[in-house]
């Protein structure tokens, strides 16, 4: 008996190691391979400034990826993240430029608004029992329409909010550590990822999200208020989309109301490449960030290599499949 216990507990330990850590490690290997490939074959790829460029190009997709990771782990999907980002950017514009609110209030307002809209998606899914795909497809349209309505279909500029650039293009860290020119938007992405990772793995919120995604019925029968946690999950996603909205609008110094369509698929791809399972219950924020990096290294590398637009699209499509394939194969081996 003792023997069995020992054996199975050893088994269990290494299994746990497998699913959580190796999963990220796998995506990481793909990323390193891509970096090495482009470093060798794309002249001018491996420079610090290009790395900063890649990081900056990752920020928005990375943050949106984290948003959708919450939802996917909970067993849902969120197609509205792209246009929700746009809508919150517009709301930030209204609060800051049109209403002249101070910067911190505007930031909080935009994020809360994102969370509010997200919770509407969540409520529609939880109480009206609409499948998440449809509820968020509807919300994707609603957010896009509202972004156009609120903005009058013209960009809102942040010229009257001089510090708005702090939210993304400016690099505050370079003031502390000279030479480390990492833009704040990238740092915000890492901060969002770090907090999200803790929320998912260490807190009660994360536990409930994993439980929902693993077996919602079992969670319900265990006395968990499934609907409330579901709403919270979509609210978190919406709030994080708000952060993405701030980053993108700070970078463009304007809220562009027509942006965002199609961003949802990139974000979902980042999450899945990073090992998040579309059937729920499995995923990590770190994996998603690595997935987002894989996608932007790929895009950047192909651009720097000067690959033709058409072929770039083809290759990107193929590599998404290959990256997930490598992930699956290595994970099976591990």
């Amino acid at each position: 008996m003792t023997d069995t216990t020992l054996k199975t507990s050893g088994w269990g330990g290494s299994r746990l190691f497998t699913t959580a850590t190796v999963q990220k490690a796998v995506a990481f290997v793909v990323l390193i391979a891509l970096l090495a490939f482009f470093g060798l074959f794309a002249p001018n790829f491996a420079t610090w400034s290009n790395m900063v460029g890649i990081m900056q190009a990752t920020a928005v997709n990375g943050v949106l990826g984290v948003a959708v990771t919450f939802v996917i782990i909970s067993g849902g999907i969120d197609l509205s993240i792209g246009t929700m980002m746009t809508l919150t950017a517009v709301v930030a514009g209204l609060l800051l430029t049109n209403l002249g609110m101070p910067l911190p209030l505007g930031i909080i307002g935009a994020i809360l608004f994102g969370a509010f809209m997200g919770s509407i998606s969540g409520a529609v899914i939880a109480y009206m029992k609409i499948p998440p795909f449809i509820a968020t497809l509807g919300m994707m349209q609603i957010a896009r329409g509202l972004a156009l309505v609120f903005s009058g279909a013209t960009p809102i500029y942040f010229n009257d909010t001089p510090n708005y650039g702090l939210l993304s293009p400016v690099s505050s860290i370079s003031a502390l550590i000279p030479g480390l020119e990492i833009p704040n938007g990238v740092l915000i992405m890492f901060a969002v990822a770090a907090v999200s990772s803790i929320v998912l793995t260490r807190t009660i919120v994360g536990r409930m999200i994993f439980a929902l995604g693993s077996n919602e019925e079992a969670a319900r029968l265990s006395g968990i208020k499934v609907n409330r946690w579901k709403i919270l999950t979509y609210a978190i996603s919406g709030g994080i989309c708000g952060v993405a909205g701030l980053i993108v609008s700070a970078r463009l110094n304007s809220a562009q109301p027509a942006l965002g369509l199609g961003y949802e698929l990139d974000a979902i791809a980042a999450a899945v490449i990073g090992g998040t399972s579309l059937s729920g219950g499995r995923g990590t924020v770190t994996g998603t960030i690595i997935g987002a990096f894989i996608m932007s290294v790929l895009t950047n590398g192909l651009r720097v290599m000067g690959v033709q637009e058409e072929w770039k699209i083809v290759v990107t499509g193929a590599i998404i499949i290959v990256a997930v394939f490598i992930d699956i194969v290595l994970r099976r081996k591990a």
């Binding site: 023997d3 199975t8 088994w11 269990g12 746990l16 536990r207 693993s214 077996n215 029968l221 219950g281």
Partner: protein, 521 residues
């Protein structure tokens, strides 16, 4: 019956003719429940006292699980009254039941596969730290380990549930129910996947609970368990209350007769008859640690039993032969010729059928009708023009099997997910009977099946063998293995540790081989 109900409706604390002054924990009266097409419960009553084990018995589909789902807030009754501690209550949802100290081990496993055992056990009730938002993972694991220790099972609290066998999952489910420290604990076939040892450990735990004044509702199809632990037995048939009797003084035969409404023939041992023609030979089969050098032969007209403890590797062997999992090495000969079996399709083409132990995930297409489930392995035979399905013919054969196996279903178009567990099992059996393979591998064929149906299935297996089919029966119930098998192969840790003659083998012989570990480094 109506008269008795009237009598009881009078005073709160008067529990029929029972002389003890113990208050009832739970009292359910006149419970009604209908599902589309099925009247599952009609005027059913049930009561539970502190410190007793009250067995709830009845054939498949009698309404046992439904009654208990009503008691635990999963379903709402259409009529009737539920009293807890004498007070009428409405159990709107599982939380309401939990708040009253009622918890349940469901017949079907309701676990979160991606979470660990400990996380599953305490889901929704995690110990917190750090302003109440962080989960105290260490305490969680300690508490889970304590429960496992109490149950005397070696499960790692940090292991993911999804990677466990059905048996281990069932143990986790039991641990979860125990963790509530409930006053009323409903166990709906808790031991259907467990072996003798685990069952014995569970009974010790139940004895403890009883001593502490908890009331336990125990649903099972295993008669010996009832004798062992039950104080009272309530029998249901076709959604109706039949009677409540003291377990100690009532003969089993009486209970069985009440359940099935007729008398059952006596159980007997396998006869030694078998043909010499070899149908299947497996040589030095290997697959990781799970299957090590497994070799055996199966003959025409023979029932070969596979016995062993949980995780011994019997299911793994069956799946490997069936092509469901890839093998590392080994040879499989069918009718003397070596065959490459890389997929279940290959296996079926070679006349091998496999009835999985996990019907919910691997046996049934729950969203499809009884007709389609019964026929799905044989669709190729029911086509016209190479493309169109002959639905009329499919319906006819399905009806035929429903009749032959006494599947309780309103009609063959019912979705199988709406059938009771035992009836689902019969549907899967019907699927393979219709397919008419030479070699039938039945993995836990009577899991969740009532005594009456069990006897029918035994007869069926014997008939099949008599017709010249070669049959492997994997079972964790030793009496079943002994009852059916001409020969018994016993496994331990992926090896076949010995073969016994079915006519002479005893439970002790099997247990000796089942615990015979290899003397490895």
């Amino acid at each position: 019956m109506a008269k008795e109900a009237d009598d009881r409706a009078g005073e709160e604390n008067v529990t029929g003719a029972q002389p003890e002054a113990l208050p009832t924990l739970v009292d359910m009266r006149g419970i009604e429940k209908s599902f589309p097409g099925v009247r599952a419960l009609q005027n059913v009553r049930f009561d539970l006292r502190p410190g007793e084990v009250h067995a709830l018995m009845g054939e498949n589909g009698a309404g046992k699980s439904t009654l208990m789902k009503i008691l635990t807030g999963v379903y709402q009754p259409d009529g009737g009254e539920i009293r807890v501690d004498g007070r009428p209550v409405t159990l709107r949802d599982p939380q309401a039941a939990q708040a009253l100290g009622i918890s349940i081990i469901h017949q079907e496993l309701y676990l979160m596969n991606h979470l660990t055992a400990a996380q599953n056990i305490f889901i929704g009730r995690e110990p917190r730290k750090g302003f109440g938002i962080f989960v105290d993972e260490a305490k969680l694991r300690r508490d889970a380990a304590a429960i496992f220790r109490r149950m005397r099972v070696g499960i790692d609290p940090a292991a993911e549930v999804g990677h466990m066998t059905v048996a281990r999952q069932q143990l986790v489910e039991i641990a979860k129910a125990l963790s509530y420290d409930a006053r009323v604990l409903v166990m709906d076939e808790p031991t259907s996947a467990l072996n003798e040892t685990e069952v014995e450990h569970l009974f010790t735990v139940i004895d403890d609970l009883k001593a502490n004044g908890a009331g336990i509702v125990y649903i099972t199809h295993k008669m010996d368990e009832v004798k062992r632990i039950a104080d009272r037995v309530t029998v249901m048939r076709d959604g109706q209350y039949i009677d409540t009797l003291p377990a100690a003084t009532t003969p089993m035969a009486t209970i069985i007769q009440m359940m099935v409404g007729r008398e059952l023939a006596d159980q007997h041992r396998a006869t030694g008859r078998r043909a010499e023609e070899e149908v299947l030979r497996v040589t030095r089969l290997n697959r990781g640690d799970a299957i090590r050098d497994v070799s055996f032969a199966l003959h025409k007209g023979e029932i070969l039993g596979f016995a062993g403890l949980m995780g011994a590797g019997r299911t793994e062997v069956a799946r490997a032969i069936f092509g469901a999992d890839p093998i590392d090495s080994g040879e499989i000969r069918v009718h003397g010729r070596p065959r490459r079996i890389a997929s279940p399709a290959d296996a079926v083409a070679n006349g091998i059928a496999y009835l999985s132990e996990d019907r919910k995930h691997f046996g049934l297409v729950t969203g499809m009708s009884v007709r389609d489930n019964v026929t799905m392995a044989s669709w190729g035979r029911f086509m016209s023009g190479g493309l169109f399905m002959r639905d009329g013919a499919l319906g006819d054969v399905a009806k035929d099997y429903v009749r032959r196996l006494k599947v309780k279903t309103p009609h063959v178009h019912q979705e199988t997910r709406l059938l009771s567990g035992g009836n689902q099992q019969k549907v899967v059996i019907a699927k393979w009977l219709l397919r008419d393979c030479d070699i039938l591998i039945f993995d836990e064929p009577t899991r969740g099946i009532d005594v009456g149906a069990k006897a029918e299935i035994y007869r069926l297996l014997e008939d099949l063998a008599a017709q010249g089919k070669a049959i492997i029966v994997i079972s964790s119930e030793l009496p079943e293995v002994l009852r059916l098998s001409h020969r018994i192969a016993v496994m331990c840790e992926g090896r076949i540790t010995g073969e016994l003659d079915g006519r002479t083998a005893t439970q002790e012989d099997i247990m000796t081989l089942a615990t015979q570990r290899a003397e490895a480094a």
